[in-house]
């Protein structure tokens, strides 16, 4: 067991990774996909196809709508049916490209074979161009365009690349399966990113509840190191299982013993963090010319008839996935996109998957019940649990008092990463994070307005 972990707070929810033995299975192509134009943080992409156009798998259908934005590709071959608003997971209308699938014809130049290509170009610029063209975004949840993250601002130097294989959310297993089944590709992707950044060291961080993955990645790296010196400096680090280890700030603390200042970026302390799935996408883009058209999704929950890790085309309707695995269980009341701690409850099962969709989790009323709110008993468990060292009980009190934005800012409400540890551990069932989230948004607004006024 590893003793290494982040230094402040954290909780230990049962990991419930009941789909861990399920191999990644290819989901048959749906009849229709709905490809969102806003699948990443930043400006929505602009469509570059018209209704009636024939498209192939991997063909760009939308281009970046700004500096922080990304390309979007068709995930099927077929005909563009419409470009119109459609309800997303939350039930809000978003612009979507609807494509009816016919056959499975890929764009010329995309290598769809399984052949492993271990040698990669030394030229960082050409690699970055390929990553941008492939529409890669951070697949760990934040969906920040990867080519932007891999271009540190001038004057900032990266000391270490961290590949995030923690998958600290309960239930999720898609990164774990990816490490086991596509470890070589992840390792090569890691080497490519490391080369782009020009760093000497890269660490693949994995929690110790995944010993098979740790062992496998060590073997993979040992083999690759025999092939080329390009794989020197990449190591696997076992971390103690603790949520939210996979949070960027917590991971940097655990791996490098450095903390990112409030309002700062990881690169300020010499760190760049990329997810396992992103490293795989980088491999596909650089070595195979393959853009993001599919991603692994864990479909799980004790009440769900069949546990699975599926390779899903981007834009697949959720209902199609659920029906494929046996339909909606009668006792499921909540479907979550992502894990139970930070995932979002889905309002609309007609919505389609996004690049960043990592899991569909089904919970029963009992599993997701929140107890009746009681008085704060000042046990301090929220403060003990907060990985940012905040005092949720205090932020809750200040928020509810109203008009205390100055005090809230002083007590660092804006540092909240919304991991949910406070609410998870509160014995009085006080909706700490619900309240803090609102105050955080208000304080962030004040901070932004102040920064704008200074300029």
């Amino acid at each position: 067991m590893s003793r290494r972990t982040f230094s402040i707070g954290g909780v230990h929810p049962a990991d419930n990774k009941i789909s861990r033995e399920c191999k990644i299975e290819v989901l048959p192509i749906p009849e229709t996909v709905y490809i969102h134009l806003g699948q990443h943080i930043g400006a929505p992409a602009k469509p570059i196809v018209a209704v009636g156009d024939k498209v192939k798998v991997g063909q760009p259908v939308a281009e970046p709508g700004g500096f922080v934005s990304a390309f979007i590709h068709s995930s099927v071959s077929g005909t563009v049916k419409s470009i119109a608003p459609r309800k997303d997971l939350a039930g809000n209308p978003q612009m979507c490209i609807e494509i009816a699938a016919q056959g499975d014809e890929w764009m010329e130049g995309i290598d769809t074979t399984d052949t492993l290509i271990t040698d990669f170009p030394d030229d960082a610029k050409s690699c970055l161009d390929k990553i941008k063209a492939a529409g890669i975004v951070g697949l760990g949840g934040a969906t920040f365009p990867t080519h932007v993250k891999l271009t540190p601002p001038p004057g900032k130097k990266c000391d270490m690349l961290i590949i995030n294989g923690c998958e600290c959310e309960p239930y999720l297993t898609s990164d774990f399966r990816t490490l086991l089944e596509k470890g070589e590709q992840v390792a090569i992707g890691t080497a490519i990113i490391k080369n782009i950044l020009g760093v000497d060291k890269a660490t693949i961080a994995i929690e110790d509840n995944k010993p098979e993955a740790i062992k496998h990645m060590n073997e993979v790296l040992a083999n690759l190191r025999k092939l080329s010196s390009k794989y020197a400096g990449i190591s696997v680090l076992s971390l103690m299982k603790k949520y939210p280890e996979g949070g960027e700030k917590q991971l940097i603390d655990a791996v490098m013993h450095r903390q990112v200042a409030s309002g700062g970026l990881p690169i300020d302390v010499g760190a760049v963090v990329q997810n396992v799935a992103t490293a795989l996408a980088v491999y596909d883009a650089v070595q195979k010319n393959k853009p993001i058209v599919e991603n692994s999704v864990t479909v799980t929950g004790e009440c769900f008839p069949k546990q699975a890790n599926l390779l899903v085309r981007v834009g697949t309707p959720l209902k199609y996935i659920i029906d494929y695995l046996g339909g909606m269980p009668a006792d499921a009341v909540k479907v979550i996109s992502g894990g139970p701690m930070m995932g979002k409850a889905i309002a609309n099962l007609d919505a389609a998957t996004l690049k960043g969709t990592s899991a569909l989790l089904f919970l029963t009323a009992k599993q997701t019940a929140r107890g009746k709110e009681g008085n704060c008993i000042r046990c301090g468990k929220c403060a003990e649990a907060c990985p940012m060292g905040l005092e949720p009980f205090l932020l809750n009190r200040l928020s509810r008092a109203g008009g205390m934005l100055d005090e809230l800012e002083k007590n660092a409400v804006q540092d909240c990463i919304e991991c949910g540890c406070c609410l998870y551990s509160c014995p009085a069932n006080i909706p700490l994070l619900d309240v803090i989230r609102q105050s955080k948004a208000q304080v962030m607004g004040v901070i932004k307005a102040r920064a704008a006024a200074k300029k």
């Binding site: 909540k334 000042r378 007590n411």
Partner: protein
């Protein structure tokens, strides 16, 4: 399909609740309660029963008819208060005195402030100190344990009381302490209030609370360290006048107070640093009262005095934030 539950994250909750925490505290106090019934007999059972029942009924009546709020009796916190109050009283306390203590503890110290979590002072201690000041004869009528099965208990002073009186009467400290040895103190063989008599049973319960992560150890340890240090210095400087660390750590309300009263969530500081200062304050004030005060024991007063500083300690000491100096 149409009825999906949509609510913000997190979507799961730890199994801990106010009720489970309070129930753990009750469980942790059970060994001490059982030991005191075994050693003091029926009288102790009456004190325990009256105290717990009064606390529950009073909280029920007050929430239902005076505050007109949801009844909070189900959270077990009134049981904790009742149990702690009883363990702080002599086994010979008449039932109506116990009842008055419960009225003060629940009615005045807890519910007037708004109920669980809102009170500044530890309710059980407020009840006990009120009784100590109002009914000093009942409250200092300590019995030497006779037992449920053994001989009748005889009246006697607590070790702390005997020594204070003896010293005032000009006796030699070494003669006074000769009658107590540490194994008597640990195994319930000295006079005192019910919860004071068996250090071992109390420590067992405290160990359970630590194991279950209901409480953290730093407040208790900081009290013990302070008491040990202060009594070591004084007893080395004037061995004929001041008692030493072992005696002070094992007598009076030291174990009950440091393990169960000072660690009360509501009335102790939230941060570790605050908790350590809080513990140092309790240890120091207790020793000053024991050495120089007119009461033989100062644990209750020390905890109540330090309870008053908790809002300040919470204001001064915050925990270390990520990425901030």
């Amino acid at each position: 399909m149409s009825k999906l539950l949509v609510s913000p994250s997190p979507h799961i909750h730890a199994s801990v609740s106010t009720k489970s925490l309070m129930r753990d505290v009750v469980l942790a106090l059970l060994p001490a309660a059982i030991v005191s019934v075994v050693f003091y007999g029926i009288g102790e059972l009456v004190v325990l029963g009256t105290s717990i029942a009064s606390c529950l009924v009073l909280e029920y009546l007050i929430t239902k008819y005076m505050l007109k709020k949801d009844c909070t009796v189900g959270d077990w916190s009134a049981v904790v208060t009742g149990l702690l109050l009883a363990l702080n009283l002599p086994s010979s306390t008449p039932w109506w005195v116990v009842f008055i203590g419960a009225v003060v503890a629940i009615g005045v110290a807890k519910m007037t402030f708004g109920g669980l979590g809102q009170n500044v002072f530890n309710p059980a201690l407020v009840g006990r100190v009120f009784l100590l000041v109002s009914f000093p004869t009942y409250m200092t009528d300590w019995k030497i344990p006779g037992g449920l099965f053994g001989a009748d208990a005889v009246s006697g002073a607590t070790p702390l009381g005997a020594i204070k009186e003896g010293l005032l009467g000009g006796a030699q400290l070494s003669d006074l302490t000769a009658q107590y040895n540490w194994s008597d103190m640990i195994f319930a063989n000295i006079g005192g209030s019910a919860g004071e008599i068996s250090a071992l049973a109390l420590l067992l319960g405290f160990g359970y609370l630590l194991l279950r992560k209901v409480v953290r150890p730093y407040i208790t340890l900081s009290i013990w360290a302070t008491v040990a240090l202060v009594s070591l210095i004084f007893s080395l400087a004037a061995p004929e006048q001041f008692t030493g660390p072992v005696f002070n750590l094992l007598t009076g309300g030291m174990i009950l107070g440091s393990c169960f009263m000072a660690t009360d969530y509501v009335t102790s500081p939230m941060s570790i640093k605050g908790g350590i200062i809080f513990g140092i304050g309790i240890g120091f004030i207790t020793m000053m009262i024991r050495y120089f005060g007119s009461y033989p024991e100062g644990m209750s007063f020390a905890i109540l005095i330090m309870n008053a500083t908790v809002p300040l300690l919470n204001n001064w000491f915050h925990q270390k934030k990520y990425g901030r100096a």
